[in-house]
Symmetry: C2
Subunit: 698 residues, 2 copies
């Protein structure tokens, strides 16, 4: 998808252009002109020959050349026919500001469906409808109807809420952040946000992308696509509708089908996207990432003129997992030459409340000679001696010499207005509070690690599986009108996919039970086989520790009797014979299927208290990498048990990895599996054995 002319058009037609102040069609032309657009503007208005002093045309068809971009603001009822005209005139890029589509329901939904077909038919790149418009501060082109233009910069902002975009423009006027492009997505009937993100990933004028999204369009390969772009630059996204109530509000707002929040969290994490939790965080991160280079490691030096600020900063650093750089004695000695005795030459360096700019400058010089300092936080309280502007100059001077993040905390308000401005304009992010600076630094450090990720996948290349076998079993289950697999069927599925499980087979007669038991080796367990009987133990449907063939035959009959007594209306499928396994460390591997992202694999502590203990970690199966499986395991508490807790021998973690990988493969290969639970798996010093495999089909 070529979106170049969407943001850098040589000509723009504004359909619905107006001479009437306050009207959207007026504002769009006015913004284009006053914000310095240098291409040709074609106002389109059936009733005027001139709009705001520019020659106007009655219809797009009258325009003498093929225009690169159409911006449309006319009543919804006329939009589709006009889109058709545009298509016939060869228009390739379009922003529809008009509202009255999906967001109003009823007839609006129909209109939007029709619009979708039209833009598909004419191959038009569409942003909107119900968009606030877009702007590109480098072209420059402001074809939005926002009342003011955000400051120029290198942050692209995508927003599914137009109102939020105007809020951000207003707020950005004093916050130091600058934008390359502002894109109001509206109803997203055309270009999917993922395509816009791919475009922005390659946009040389954009260093950071921030986005407010209420939904993310389905994409077969979401994780793989996002991995590619997030390796190019940071994408920071506030995905709202994360709560169940919020998802309701989101769906009534834009009709978006909200995926579950856990799935989004997991997808973002596996994709290398950065998820902001709050609006403030979105912009704080946008500011930091857009100004400062990435840190190479997690060692931070702090310079402050207030001990208290240092303490708060260190608290925040410890919570964030960043490290205080330790200065060597030589450095400390040199620092002491410029810092009075009451100050601290240990990190955080306290230059004292009476520090003038000069003392900051000297301290900075010494600190920055330590190449192993990965980043620097400089804090200034507005004491009587503080020199915010002069200190800012000293910081900018130091910044020229190093390629590491320097973040400034100017603790206060009006005193720092001009210092903040000069710092922000010259590539140094500033914050009011130290905790914000540390949080931003932490996210930047994490992103540095994302860039080093190895996305080698490990699910697709499994060869020793028998897909046909599983298809057959599923067919049989469906043919018999069931959704839930019997234990013996589920075992056969596990076996076909190389998942170690305790053998379990179905006997339809006492003799068969005896024979199967003998083949498996004693002791065995016998269980009533029926997907309709839920509490099997309670009705005498389970007998453990069976040691002989005769006992197995006898028990078969007993179990059938018990089942008939308890459920005279149910005909059991027989009795299942399962080999009794020695106990091991109990883990579970499970799957829930997300509507949008597909199978999510769960791993955690197994046993009967799984829902109570909640020691579980999730990963999406699609694109799952070997590193992610390792990380999924190690992020649980049961990993500590598997590694050998308190002197115990370690368990066979490779078996756990195999189980995760193969469950992922199975659930990717068979979308008809709606639920799957392997719990417990006994993990031994060598090998493992799944005791209970539950599979449910759609």
């Amino acid at each position: 998808m070529n979106l170049e002319k969407m943001f850098k058009p040589d000509s723009v037609a504004v359909i619905g252009a107006s001479n009437q102040k306050g009207k959207v069609g007026y504002l769009v032309i006015d913004n284009m002109v006053s914000d310095g657009y240098k291409g040709t503007i074609y106002p389109i208005n059936p009733k005027s020959d001139e709009i705001q002093g520019i020659k106007a045309y009655k219809s797009i068809k009258d325009v003498p050349e093929k225009v690169d971009l159409v911006v449309m603001s006319i009543p919804a009822a006329f939009v589709n026919e006009t889109v058709k005209e545009c298509g016939e005139s060869g228009v390739e890029n379009m922003v529809i500001i008009s509202a009255g589509f999906k967001e109003v329901g009823g007839k609006g939904i129909e209109l939007e469906e029709e619009l979708k077909s039209l833009v598909e038919e004419y191959e038009i790149n569409l942003i909107g409808p119900n968009s606030l418009g877009t702007s590109d501060s480098h072209t420059p082109l402001n074809s939005s109807f926002a009342q003011c233009m955000a400051p120029e910069g290198n942050v692209a902002f995508l927003s599914q809420s137009g109102a939020m975009m105007v809020a951000v423009i207003d707020w950005s006027l004093t916050s130091g952040i600058g934008f390359s492009k502002l894109i109001s997505l509206g109803n997203k009937a055309g270009v999917p946000e993922i395509e816009l993100m791919k475009y922005l990933a390659d946009d040389p004028e954009t260093s950071v992308v921030i986005a407010y999204l209420e939904s993310i369009a389905d994409d077969e390969d979401f994780i793989r696509s996002m991995r590619k772009i997030s390796m190019k630059k940071p994408f920071i996204i506030l995905k709202s509708g994360s709560s169940s109530a919020g998802a309701e509000a989101a769906s009534s707002h834009t009709g978006a089908l909200a995926g579950s929040d856990l799935a989004f969290d997991t997808a973002f994490d596996q994709s290398g996207l950065i998820r902001a939790e709050t609006m403030r965080e979105l912009f704080d991160l946008g500011l930091g990432f857009s100004k400062a280079p990435l840190p190479k490691g997690d060692k931070v030096a702090i310079i402050t003129n207030a001990g208290g600020g240092g303490v708060v900063t260190v608290d925040a650093m410890e919570k964030a997992g960043l490290e205080l750089f330790q200065f060597d004695n030589d450095t400390k000695k040199r620092l002491r030459d410029c810092i009075p005795d009451e100050g601290s030459v240990n990190n955080p360096i306290d230059v004292l409340g009476d520090a003038p700019a000069k003392r900051y400058e000297e301290t900075l010089d010494i600190v920055l000679e330590n190449d192993d300092v990965d980043s620097l936080v400089i804090m200034i309280c507005p004491t009587a001696s503080a020199q915010p502007e002069e200190t800012a100059e000293a910081i900018l001077d130091a910044k020229k010499r190093v390629d590491k993040p320097i973040i400034v905390v100017n603790m206060g308000g009006p005193t720092f207005e001009s210092a903040n401005k000069v710092l922000n304009e010259n590539g140094v992010p500033t914050y009011v509070f130290p905790e914000t600076a540390i949080h931003v630094l932490k996210e930047m450090t994490d992103y540095s690690k994302i860039l080093e990720r190895n996305y080698e996948e490990c699910v697709d290349n499994i060869s020793d599986i028998d897909k046909n076998k599983v298809s057959e079993i599923f067919k049989k289950v469906k043919d018999s009108g069931r959704c839930a697999l019997l234990g013996s069927e589920a075992y056969a599925v596990a076996e076909a996919y190389g998942i170690s499980a305790a053998p379990i087979k179905l006997a339809e007669s006492p003799e068969e039970a005896g024979k199967l038991a003998e083949e498996m080796e004693f002791p065995v367990v016998l269980k009533i086989a029926s997907d309709k009987i839920l509490h099997k133990s309670d009705i005498g449907g389970v007998k453990v520790g069976i040691e002989t063939k005769e006992e197995a035959e006898k028990t078969f009959n007993e179990i059938i009797e018990n089942a008939k007594k308890a459920h005279p209306d149910i005909t059991p499928d027989g009795v299942e014979v399962q080999k009794m396994m020695p106990s091991g460390k109990e883990v579970l591997v499970g799957m829930i299927r997300d509507k949008q992202f597909g199978p999510m694999i769960a791993f955690g502590m197994g046993g009967i208290y799984v829902n109570l203990i909640e020691d579980v970690s999730f990963k999406l199966a699609k694109g799952l990498t070997c590193d992610e499986i390792d990380q999924q395991i190690s992020s649980t508490k049961v990993a500590t048990l598997l590694e050998g807790y308190r002197g115990e021998a370690p368990s066979d973690i490779n078996e756990v990895k195999e189980a995760i990988k193969r469950v992922a493969k199975l659930t990717l290969d068979f979308p008809e599996i709606s639920e799957l639970d392997v719990n417990p798996i006994f993990v031994y010093e060598e090998g493992s054995s799944a005791l209970d495999v539950k599979i449910t089909l759609d």
Copy 2:
């Protein structure tokens, strides 16, 4: 302690007053005069007859009347002799700005110790040294040397960092918060912050107290004192030095001995103090609490002109556990009359981007007729139609009619400057981002619940205990040169305090072992008794399932043999005989002793994996209430097990409560207990039994 004249003095002497601009002694006088102090000022300076046009005196002794307050800013070396003179002149209140005391170490520590003795001797209320000074905007008296005065209001701010105080004054100039008193604590050599907090609790000019503290002075009755004041008004505290690294920075900064952070968290929680996690939160909460009344419940209505803002707000609400108020059909119908069809009349109410002030006003009128709406969040994005000032007026008008919190989110920057000002000045807090508003509302709702707390204590009134018995046992243990109690000794302690435990007794001969086993009833366990042998099972020092007297006698000898073989150098105390108990739900009750707050009682899931599962909740024993014990239990996962998980019969939770209560009592009664662990306790459907009681003395 009477601090009235500290903040409302009729006369103030400034020792170290100066005519030299920029000097602290100049700034203090200048601030007092320019900020309108109406009492008498006595500048003290040995070399001048007049300071800034006011008659000056050579010494405090020359002042013709007894002054209410002395503010001192002279070199540290001269402070103590001057304090003495003040004391002799009857001065009762003093602020020492001079630095060069504890914070510089060495000689400074000595000076501060001497200063402490002097103020004690002369009964002087001292704030400082190393203070920035104090100010009271209602007196008005600004005796600090800060360069500007914070806006007047009803928030008192206590700060252990002077630099942070100037930062806050600066920041407050544009943030809408107003202050009644600013108190820079400095080194806290005189009036403890707890006394200041008690004073502020009764100060009619203060509605909210916010504090930045790096340490909290020891107070025998911290929790009980704080409960009293936190019932009078909200106290919001940022306690820094929470990290281990932070604690180091705090200790090098003010020489404060940092308590463990868990203890602080627990103490704050049990006291009803509100703990802020970041500086921003401290001031966001200060603003909200100081402007809006407390909500009576957790039902919130939201009015917004941006659907996206509504979604983000609902997300935040769900995370915070607040509830979206549901409007009835009649209300919705009336809302529909003033909101166009595309808007939403469900909560969050979307008045649409084109909403003028009038539409907000009409919507507000209808919403506020619902008495069950506990609080209201109003959000405005700066769309072309937004009318921030007019909407602010409508909100202020509505506010007059109801006594419930109305919080405004003006999403943007410069557009809202004047609207924010008028709202803040008239009792409506404003924030830029919706998540902040919701967080503040959540904390206000929580504080409403704190005010309803029942602090009935339940530890002190336990009567059926034998304190002397325990004293005897501890004496015996100490006399034998041990710290750790034997199992049989610990059992005796538990028995004396009514803690149900499995009987365990010491046998010194095979015959005694047989006799004890018989008395206890079989089966029993035999264990080697020695505080020096740690891994008793590994050396054959434990034998379970002993069923007869003869077996017990024989086993005694075996165990002694095994122990001698493994540890020829250790003489065991004998063999302990313990009754084997049926297994039950496993819980633990333990105690760690905090240096500052005393015993902290742990409760949680028991067993060998306690450190892995980490299902544990802590409470401080001092002042422990019955409600807190209930809450301690219910906040763990094991509580779900005890209540009867998945159809199991419930366990005897009363036994658990008794165990917690009695362990609390025991560890309060005996400060020499440094560690205590009861793990596991088997809890049955009726009764319980502690299997292993470990007690260590200092």
